[in-house]
Structures are given as structure tokens and as C-alpha cells.
């Protein structure tokens, strides 16, 4: 176990000053996520254009440093990507958090991969994995216009 790996500078910084912590004006997709056990909640907003490219992504909510940093990095990184690319990135991220040693997506540049890999420290903390993944599941739910709130498994 390594706390330093979990709480890297970049996580602490994003956790403290989350990017896109607001509500996108004129959003056309949104979804809510909730972690009933911890009381964490997130609301993801997307503005897609006609080509289903993410023009803006934002979120509201509260949670631990890991969940805030994860939502912050995620919303930053999917801007400019189309729905297909964004979903592929989600798959890749969830795969990495669960088992894969690294990220494979061709839709991510090296800089983006490095940023996301900062969240890989949660792998060693099974109870915290859902903190990192909640906003990502909620993002997919927003794309798919799911009405139900996303709930992380207990």
C-alpha cells in the first residue's frame, strides 16, 4: 500500500480545485450518480453538438479528493471528443482501474494518459475504487439518457 501513490500532487490539486465544477449552460445531456454507502453524489452535464461532439462537460457534486479529482480530470479530457471516442475512453479507464496495467485507447494522447494514470493508485484500495469510477459511470448514463440515478454497487 502506498498513500503517496494514491494521493499524488495532481490528485490533491484537482481535488482541491476541481475543473468544470459548475453547470454547463444550455446542456443537452445530464445524469446523476450517487454512492449510497458514502453519500457521495455527482451530477454530470454535457453539451453535444450536431455531430455528437462534446462541446462542454461539467459536473456538480461533493465527495472525497479521489472522486472530485476523477470527475475533474474526466470532464476536462472528454471535451472535443465525440460520443464514440468518449465511451471508448470510459471503457479503457474502467478497465485500467479494475485490472489492466495501463491505458490502451488511441483516443488519448500521452499527456492525457499520464493524467489518468494518476488515478491508478486506487487499485490498491478496493473500497475506494467506486470513488474513482462514479463520475465515469454517470457520464455514460448521461450519453445514454438514462433516467435512473447511477448507483455504485455497495
Amino acid at each position: 500500500m502506498n498513500l503517496k501513490e494514491l494521493y499524488q500532487e495532481i490528485i490533491l490539486e484537482h481535488g482541491k480545485n476541481p475543473r468544470n465544477l459548475r453547470k454547463t449552460e444550455g446542456f443537452n445531456k445530464d445524469a446523476k450518480g450517487n454512492n449510497p454507502l458514502c453519500g457521495d453524489n455527482v451530477h454530470v452535464y454535457l453539451k453535444l453538438n450536431g455531430q455528437r461532439i462534446v462541446e462542454d462537460a461539467s459536473f456538480e457534486g461533493s465527495g472525497c479528493a479521489i472522486s472530485m479529482a476523477s470527475a475533474s480530470i474526466m470532464t476536462d479530457l472528454i471535451k472535443g471528443k465525440n460520443e464514440h471516442e468518449a465511451k471508448e475512453i470510459v471503457e479503457d479507464f474502467l478497465g485500467m482501474i479494475k485490472e489492466n496495467p495501463d491505458l490502451k485507447s488511441e483516443n488519448l494522447n500521452e499527456d492525457e494518459k499520464t493524467k489518468l494514470m494518476c488515478l491508478s493508485g486506487v487499485k490498491q484500495y478496493p473500497m475506494r475504487v467506486k470513488c474513482a469510477t462514479l463520475s465515469w459511470h454517470t457520464l455514460v448514463s448521461a450519453f445514454d439518457e438514462k433516467q435512473e440515478e447511477v448507483k455504485t454497487e455497495n
Binding site: 498513500l3 482541491k16 454507502l37 453519500g39 465527495g63 472525497c64 479528493a65 479521489i66 472530485m68
Partner: protein
């Protein structure tokens, strides 16, 4: 009382937890188990096992006697008048559901009101909510004061002519406030109101005398009392348990079963349908005897010293904010740390072997009221020492370091 001797009775403290000595500060959630209790379960299964109350063979009779011995011990421990006032359940949650469900069948009418408090655990709210839905009754909330207490005056203020029942915690699992149960019961009974007490945090830490408290029901969680999981106790005044209908139907709770009619068994069988948590009940006898051997007065004194010490320590730690400051407080220290989410605190403390709880502790109403999504909670038991609280404080300082907080 020598804590080091007591601690030695708990095998878990011989273990290294991720290479650390365990600093267990999560007893409000569930307590650790003394060796006598663990061994008792093993001994029962290996040497004495039989189902209880059904067969006439030697083992069945012996097991039944052991099972009933625990009932007698519980009766003695809480000073109930009659041992038939002790019903075993699967936990305090089931005990509270039993009361809400059976009272709900005939007792409540549309427009009746139940008074609970903002301190209640979900298990002393949700069962009443079921009745709100099915019986169209109203639930009112007594509010906490600045100190995180519920006062008698507040209860009095919230009682209306329609109040039929008051359900309160004995000791808050978040603020640690000890409620004036006896006074509340006096007041309630003067108006014909039933009182149900969630005694989960009371039973392991306070001297109990249900006849003196005079409440109508008292729910106990055995796994918080240095006992096995899967077991709870419902104390109910005999007149209620006799009057109310059964909760679950099945074997063991019946008297006569015919194709067109069924009569129910006498107390306490009436409420113990099916095969119960036999081994747990039998082992729980040893938990009670263990507590009695230390003496509840000694336990209360020890835990009061710990809380006082912990409170002072955390008060001095800037950026730590304690939740509630009740005059009459049990062994619970809930807090927030400016700039660090409770989950992050719990993970960082865990790295030092300090086990606490983070979240809303099944008290979402209270956290909403306090306007915080979650809190961190350190809670003590008989095995804790001041060293444990020093380690807690030190690990909190480590959190601050990691998060660059002064």
C-alpha cells in the same frame, strides 16, 4: 480495572493488520469479540450442537437450556421484570421492525403521529416510514440543539394531541448525546404515548435498568456488545408482547395448527419463529458475563475518561471540528477536518492501522441538518486506551500533512 489485561482477552489485538498494531476505533459500528465468546461458538458446534426447543434427545434438551440461560442473563443485565420480555431477533434492526410491524397492524389510525428525532439511525426511522406509507400517519422530528442534543423540552414541544408513539435513540451514534430517556418516558406516559428506545449504543456502554427507564420497548444489538453478529434483542413490556400479534409465522411460534385455524404459542416463542441464531444466542451469554465480570460501572468510568481525553485532544487540533458537544456524552467522537473529505481521512488513518468509520453512519437526516455530506467517526470500547487516541490524533496530523493543511 487493568485495560491491558482486558485487551489481552481479545485475540484480534494479537494480529498485525497490514503490518500495524490495530487501533480499533469503530466499536459504535461493531465491537471486537473476546476469546471466551469466539471459543464458545466453536465449543457449542463441536461438542454440544443440537437445535433447540424441538426434540427430546439429550443434546436438544441441553441446548435448549443453554439458549434459555442467555435469556435469563439478558433479563438480569437490563433488569427486566420477566424473562419472557426478552425476545431474540437477528439484530436491533429486526427488533425495531418487529415493533413497528406488529404495532402497525392494529394500533395506528390515519392521522396518528409518531415522534422521532433528528439523531435517529435509519433503522429507527425507515420502519416507521413504512407505517407512514401504509397507515397514512405522520412522522415528526424533534430537532437537535447546538450541542447535538435532544432535550426533554424539545420533545415536549413536538408532542401533539395525535402523538401515539415516540421512538428515540438512547445514545446517538454520531454526536454521542445521551438522551434523557427516563424523563421522556415519564412525560410520554403521562399523555398515553408509547416509547420505543433504540438501545444499540446504550446497551454496551451504559448501566441499564429498563424498569427504571420504564420504556415500552428497548432494542439491542448484540454484535456491538462484544457478542456475535446476526443477533439482537427486543425487550418489550409483557403487556405489549402479549397483546400484539406475532411478527413472522412458522415453526416454533405456534400452539395448534389446523386446516382452518391456528393458535399461537406463548411468550417468548410467539416472536421467535423458525430456527434461531442458536450458537450466537448461546455464545452471547458469555458476552454478558464478560461485561458483568468487568463491571458496567468500571466500563462507564473508563469510557468517560477516554471520551474526555479524546475530546480535549481533538479540540486542540486546529482544523478538526467536532460534531456536537453534548454535556452527557457517550464514547463517540465524530468530526470533520477542514479541506479533507472523511473518506480520505479514513483511508489515510487506515494506513496507520487506525480503524474508524467515514460516511453518514446511517444518519442522513442528521448530516443533512448539519449541512455536511459525511463525517469521520472514532468510537471507543472497553479495550481502548489513551494511546489509541494519541495515535488517532497523530494520524489526523498525517492527513493534514498529506493535504498540506496547517
Amino acid at each position: 480495572m487493568n485495560i491491558n489485561h482486558i485487551k489481552k482477552e481479545f485475540p484480534i489485538f494479537d494480529e498485525k493488520i497490514q503490518n500495524n498494531d490495530l487501533v480499533y476505533l469503530d466499536s459504535a459500528n461493531s465491537s471486537q469479540k473476546p476469546k471466551v465468546v469466539v471459543d464458545r461458538i466453536n465449543e457449542f458446534y463441536t461438542k454440544q450442537f443440537s437445535n433447540v426447543g424441538r426434540s427430546v434427545h439429550y443434546l436438544a434438551v441441553a441446548a435448549t437450556n443453554l439458549y434459555e440461560n442467555t435469556r435469563t442473563s439478558v433479563q438480569r443485565y437490563i433488569n427486566a421484570k420477566d424473562q419472557n420480555e426478552i425476545v431474540f431477533t437477528k439484530g436491533a434492526t429486526e427488533a425495531l421492525n418487529l415493533v413497528a410491524n406488529t404495532l402497525g397492524q392494529n394500533f395506528f389510525r390515519e392521522g396518528d403521529e409518531i415522534l422521532i428525532t433528528e439523531l435517529e439511525h435509519h433503522s429507527n426511522y425507515v420502519p416507521w416510514h413504512f407505517l407512514r406509507k401504509s397507515k397514512n400517519i405522520k412522522i415528526n422530528f424533534a430537532e437537535i440543539n447546538e450541542a447535538g442534543e435532544i432535550t426533554l423540552e424539545e420533545i415536549e414541544k413536538k408532542i401533539t394531541p395525535n402523538t401515539k408513539l415516540i421512538a428515540i435513540t438512547h445514545l446517538s451514534n454520531v454526536t454521542g448525546a445521551i438522551l434523557p430517556v427516563k424523563e421522556i418516558t415519564d412525560l410520554a406516559h403521562s399523555k398515553g404515548i408509547i416509547v420505543v428506545v433504540d438501545g444499540c449504543q446504550g446497551a454496551p456502554h451504559l448501566k441499564l435498568d429498563v424498569q427504571d427507564l420504564d420504556c415500552d420497548f428497548y432494542a439491542i444489538s448484540c454484535h456491538k456488545m462484544y457478542g456475535p453478529t446476526g443477533l439482537g434483542v427486543l425487550y418489550g413490556k409483557k403487556k405489549w408482547l402479549e397483546e400484539l400479534p406475532p411478527y413472522q409465522g412458522g415453526g416454533g411460534m405456534i400452539n395448534e395448527v389446523n386446516k382452518d385455524s391456528i393458535s399461537y404459542g406463548d411468550l417468548p416463542n410467539k416472536y421467535e419463529a423458525g430456527t434461531m441464531a442458536t450458537a450466537q444466542v448461546i455464545a452471547f451469554d458469555y458476552s454478558i458475563k464478560f461485561l458483568e465480570s468487568i463491571g458496567i460501572d468500571n466500563i462507564m468510568k473508563h469510557e468517560a475518561e477516554l471520551v474526555e481525553y479524546g475530546q480535549e485532544l481533538l479540540k486542540k487540533n486546529n482544523s478538526v471540528k467536532l460534531i456536537g458537544n453534548p454535556r452527557n456524552k457517550g464514547g463517540v467522537l465524530s468530526f470533520t477536518l477542514e479541506g479533507v473529505h472523511p473518506h480520505d481521512i479514513a483511508t489515510i488513518l487506515d494506513e496507520d492501522g487506525v480503524a474508524i468509520r467515514a460516511g453518514h453512519h446511517c444518519c442522513q437526516i442528521l448530516h443533512d441538518k448539519l449541512n455536511i455530506p459525511a463525517s469521520a467517526r472514532a468510537s471507543v470500547g472497553i479495550y481502548n486506551t489513551k494511546d489509541d487516541l494519541d495515535q488517532l490524533n497523530e494520524s489526523i496530523n498525517n492527513c493534514k500533512k498529506i493535504f498540506n493543511i496547517e
